[in-house]
């Protein structure tokens, strides 16, 4: 008998029965059809699966779904509100920080967690903040710049 778990994702409640060894990533993708979190490496290095758990960036491929019960989960699908993009999403578009886009949702969520905690990070702090998200396309240059522009718009940021 699979345990019942209540997941709170992007402000919605989902009552699910999940196998005890199901990863949060698989439940998000297969059960909830939230495919913005992606499998990239299965070892906790690439970060394509990053979601926010109680506001903190975590790799959903290294988290049991049953242990995420009762906690606040945010995925990329929940970032824009009322059709209005989050400033990070806008900055990623405008600064050219998106290439193949596979890493982008995880990258943006890590950046959000960083800025929520440290609204005025310097470039090294940004590098550290997104070091759990690998990008093979951009060389991170424009990603770092996009995050800087949002930080600066918030009144901080040391370019």
């Amino acid at each position: 008998m699979n345990p019942e778990v209540t997941l709170r994702v992007n402000g919605r409640r989902y009552e699910l029965q999940v196998r005890p060894d199901r990863l949060l990533l698989d439940v998000l993708r297969d059960e909830l059809r939230l495919t913005g979190a992606r499998r990239g490496c299965e070892t906790g290095y690439c970060g394509a699966c990053t979601v926010l758990l109680d506001g903190q960036a975590v790799h959903a491929c290294c988290l049991l779904a049953v242990r995420a019960g009762g906690r606040e989960i945010q995925t990329i699908e929940g970032l824009a509100s009322n059709g209005k993009l989050h400033p990070l999403q806008r900055a990623f578009i405008e600064e050219g920080a998106v290439q193949c886009g596979y890493c982008t949702p995880g990258m943006i969520l890590s950046a959000k967690a960083l800025l929520d905690e440290n609204p005025a990070p310097g470039p090294e702090e940004i590098r550290q903040g997104i070091s759990g998200n690998l990008c093979r396309c951009t060389g991170y240059v424009k990603i770092i710049r996009a995050i800087q522009t949002v930080a600066q718009a918030k009144g901080g940021g040391r370019p």
């Binding site: 345990p3 906790g44 903190q56 975590v58 759990g132």
Partner: protein
Amino acid sequence: MRAVIEYVEPGTVEEAVGFLASHRGAAKVVAGGQSLLVLLRQRLLEPEYLLGLDRIPGMRGIAEGAGGELVIGPLTTHREIAASPLVRKGWALLAEAAEQVGSPPVRNAGTIGGNLGFPMIGADPPVALVALGARISLAGPRGTRTVAVEEFYRGYMESVLEPDEIITQVALPPQPAGTRGTYLKYRLRGIDRALVAVAVTLTPDGRGSCKEIRIGLGGVRPAPVRALQAEAILRRARLTEETISRAAQAAVEEVEPVSDLSGSAEYRKKLVKVFVTRALRQLAAGGSGVGRVHES
């Protein structure tokens, strides 16, 4: 992966070890899951039961004990340790090592208990724990026991933790007044485990010599080790280029690294010498209080 039959969340330590004892080898404790779930996914482990400790009181958190010691619950995350004012105040070396673990998502989910329970070459916290004289409490069906962190490990991916035991706490003694420390980590990428890590705590005697010194080394299998010979050279001695050089050489002779993808045994030995020297030079130069971290 093979199906896990059940996820179990006992309410007490007794229940937990009772379950582990009655499902010999078929149950695995999941702490942060950062290593366990990867091994599960790769089928290197195929437990039938997963045991979560979240419901057991006291398993997560950082507190100061009655004797002034620092007590950390095994489910405490690296992030919590790195950010804790209490840890920063008296055991900053550990906070700085915790800050060097992997990347933010790994630090947000990974725990100190999981890090100890899945001994990986080049893990950060254990090296700092060695220098800080930490002791690990284990509970099992035969009762509880406490081991020094350097005695916790047996070899590659192996510790003294029995399959029916759980880690219940990590305790760090209060550091004597004036103790300074440093944690140096050398790695290939910024997100990798250490090729070599060096943690040193040094208590001056007030007359320019070391009263007490503890040196922990990581990345040198079996990991981590305490560099006892190097410590002996420096204890009651002054930190000079000469003593530092002798101590660094002694440290090299105390390690038996192996060659792996990250670097050869020979290279690791060279790194031990370089980083023990650098750590001691920093402390000789005064350092800046307990646990200044420095990366190569």
